[in-house]
Each structure stands twice: as C-alpha cells, then as structure tokens.
C-alpha cells in the first residue's frame, strides 16, 4: 500500500480556451478546457490544474463557468490558479467546484493571505505556486512574478519555508529556467525545495522525455505537472504511467470505468 505519484496535466486558460507557449510567450491555442479536462480524466490524470491567465474580469468570469462545467463531469480533484487576490476569490472558486486554489503573486505581495485562506478553508485547499529561476539570492533561486517576467529578490527556499509556516498545503514549483523547454524538469531546484518543504511538492516546467518524469520523482517530487507534452500529444498520460510503473514507481492504474 503506497501513495501513488500524481500525474497532473495543466491547462492554461484564457477567455475560456486552453493555451500554452514556450516560456510563456507565443501562445498557441490548444483546445476547449472542459473537453480536454474530461479527456484527461478518462486517460488517467490523477488531478487537473487550470491556470487562468486571463487579463480581464470578463475572462475570469468565463473561467468560473469553465470550472463549473468541469466539476460537473470530471470526478477527480481540480486546482485553479491565476488572479486570486482574496479570501472571497477563493470562496467563489470553491463554490464553482474547484477543490484547491493556487496562489502566487498575491501571496508575495501579502503573505498573510496564506494564513487567511488556510484558516477559513483549511491548508488542504491551498497550493503555493512558486515560479523560480536561478539568481544571486542566498540559495541561488529567486521567486519571480507575472509568469516569470519580473524578479523579486526573494529567495525561493526562504519563501517556501515561510509559506509552509503560514499554512500552505502544497507547493507547485515551476522552474522558469526549464519551463517550455521540454529539456527535463529542474532537478537541482526540486532537490533544494524538497529539502525545506514538509508538504507535498509538485514539480513543473521542462517535462519532455519519459525519463524526465522519473528523474523528478527521484529528486523528491510527489507529483508531476506538465502541459505541452500532453496537449500536443507528445506523450499520453497512460504512456507516462506505464513507463513509471515499469520502473517500479507507484502509479494509479485503476482498472474499472
């Protein structure tokens, strides 16, 4: 009896559509989020993540509708991130059918938001999304905001420790150096964050070859998030799970339904 590693497709959503581009530029439309979520559910995704990158409030309303329609037909956990600034924003998303929310920029601006959300809804609903890159901070990793476009001079490891103390339930670590490259997860960054995080760690950014997924688990990740390799059909979720199972990593291979 072992906890399975989680394979999590991430859908970047704007104005009700899924997008994903290399290093967050040159976005390419890759489909309808509700349809893709249902498909990934059938293919064996262990969770789903929506990252709302809409710039407008109308876009955010559309996302709430996407969350509603997804939660009605896909019975696996759904995390939604992007643009969450308050406890009320979290409340709206949970009521729409999200199980967890991920926050990033708003928590950096006001760390107490972490405690406020955790106190109201419990730590388990709160994922801290950390967009980190190599820089001259104490650990060599810096937190960025705005999809990696802006540095903060905040040390990534110190931030993870602070956020864990404030009550986040999970860390989503996105390497801005590796994001979109398909050259492999950022192993040294995962190793460093694993050492200071007492909560589950989701690795993100850089997934390409099947071996990459195993390497991130070896570095200490509990869950693996990927976007473009799934959206563009480079790997199916089943391929990743078969590869991991073959190499003795615990994966969920439910045989019913």
């Amino acid at each position: 009896m072992t906890l399975s590693v989680r394979i999590i497709p991430c859908l970047d959503v704007t104005e009700g559509r899924v997008v994903k581009g290399v290093n967050f530029t040159n976005l390419v439309d890759a489909g309808d989020p509700v349809e893709m979520a249902a498909l990934y559910g059938i293919e064996g995704a262990d969770e789903l993540t929506f990252l709302d990158i809409s710039a407008s409030s109308a876009g955010r309303e559309t996302t709430l509708d996407v969350v509603r329609r997804t939660a009605e037909q896909v019975f696996i956990p759904l995390t939604v991130g992007g643009g969450i600034r308050s406890v009320d924003d979290v409340d709206r998303l949970l009521r729409a059918g999200a199980d967890k929310v991920s926050i990033n920029t708003s928590a950096i601006a006001r760390p107490q938001l972490i405690a406020e959300i955790a106190d109201r809804f419990g730590s388990q609903v709160l994922v801290l999304s950390v967009d980190a890159r190599r820089a001259r901070t104490a650990s060599g990793f810096e937190v960025t905001t705005h999809g990696g476009r802006e540095g903060t001079d905040i040390d990534a490891l110190a931030w993870v420790e602070q956020a864990c103390a404030l009550g986040v339930g999970e860390i989503l670590l996105n390497s801005m150096d590796a994001d979109g490259t398909r050259a492999g997860y950022d192993i040294s960054m995962i190793t460093a964050v694993r050492a200071v995080a007492g909560v589950p760690l989701i690795a993100s950014g850089g997934a390409g070859a099947l071996e990459d997924f195993a390497a991130a688990l070896d570095a200490g990740a509990d869950a693996l998030l990927a976007a473009s390799v799934f959206h563009f059909g480079i790997h199916r979720i089943g391929d990743v799970k078969s590869y991991l199972a073959k190499h003795n990593y615990p994966v969920r291979t439910n045989t019913i339904g």
Partner: protein, 200 residues
C-alpha cells in the same frame, strides 16, 4: 432521496453531481427536516475539525446526525465529515481535544508521516464482508488529510497506511464513513457511491 448536508464546507457541487450518478435525487441542504427525512444523508467536510464542528453546530447538525443514527437512517461521512463522527479531535496545538458528534468513541489525531497532508491516491485494505468496497477492493481512492482515527470502531474496518495505519473506512450498520473523497476518486469513487446508495 439523498441529502448532502451543507454546513458551509467546501466544494459541494462535485459531491452533488457525483451522488446524482447513482440515479437517486440529490439535494444540498442545511434544513434539519429535509436532512433528517432523506433516505441517505451525506456529511461532507473539508478544513479543520473545530471549524467543521462549529459550522455543524450552527445548523444543529450534530443533533440531525444523532437522531438519524438512533432512527436507523443511513449516514455517510466523508473526510472531515467522517472525522467529526468520532468523539474527539485533537486537531489543534492548544492541546485541548475538541468534542465531535460522538457516534464512535475514538480520537482523531495527527498522522505520523514526514510529509503532510497525505494527499493523493492510495489503496485500502478493505474489510472482509464490506458492502461499501464490494467489487472495488483493489482500487485507489483520493485522500487529502493530515489527521485520522487509528482505533478500531464499528462493524467493518477498512485501513490505509501512510506513515502509520489509520481507518480509511468504517461501516457500522446505518452509519458509514470514508476518510478519502469518493466524489473525487473517479470511477472507483462513483462505484463506492453506487454501493452505498444501493443500500438505501
């Protein structure tokens, strides 16, 4: 009809839709009469033990649950909705255990494991003779929690190990509970919901 008890706790939309797949009518309610009279009552719950008890007390939920148990009407607790069925929860650092509904006499306490919450898909050691797990004994279910009951209660006990062994399912006549979220456990979870709703 299945009633899902609304006491201000989390995402009830998926629970409503998941239970509706059983073919039963489903209503999300905080109304004591509807919750008492439904064929089955689902007690969901996310967050902290004490906060859930507070929300439950605000709608007289403990009384609804106790009355249903006494009148042999089915109740299914999910996650924190399972935990609050126990007599005590020591989810807080103040060292003072909080009182639960008290259907089962045991304390819900922190799991001993290096990484918490226990989050993700895990399997169960299903109780022999379990009707809840019939046909899905070998499946994985979605857990997200840091606390659990570790003492045997009820008629059928289903166990899971993460750091230590804890109760992942209890069946005790008309009262059942799962520490995992069947409404988030894909086809396996829907099958469990079907097993439970077939007993109504």
């Amino acid at each position: 009809m299945i009633a899902i008890l609304d006491y201000g706790s989390g995402n009830l939309r998926s629970a409503e839709r998941a239970f509706a797949t059983s073919g039963h009518d489903v209503v999300v309610t905080s109304d004591a009469r509807i919750a008492f009279e439904a064929d089955g009552l689902v007690v969901p719950g996310v967050g902290a033990f004490a906060a859930c008890m507070k929300g439950l007390d605000a709608i007289d939920g403990s009384e609804i649950i106790r009355k249903r148990v006494l009148s042999e009407r089915s109740v299914l607790g999910i996650c924190i909705g399972m935990q609050i069925l126990f007599s005590h929860g020591d989810e807080h650092s103040d060292g003072v255990p909080h009182s639960g509904v008290g259907v089962w006499d045991a304390v819900v306490s922190k799991i001993s494991a290096p990484i918490l919450p226990h989050m993700g898909w895990n399997t169960v050691d299903a109780a022999p003779g379990s009707s809840l797990f019939k046909g899905i004994e070998d499946q994985a279910f979605y857990f997200v929690h840091s606390f659990a009951a570790k003492k045997s209660v009820g008629v059928h006990q289903t166990w899971t190990t993460y750091g230590e062994r804890f109760l992942s399912g209890v069946e005790d006549g008309y009262v059942s509970a799962t520490q995992f979220h069947p409404e988030k456990s894909g086809a396996a979870g829907l099958a469990l919901i079907k097993n439970w709703s077939n007993s109504l």
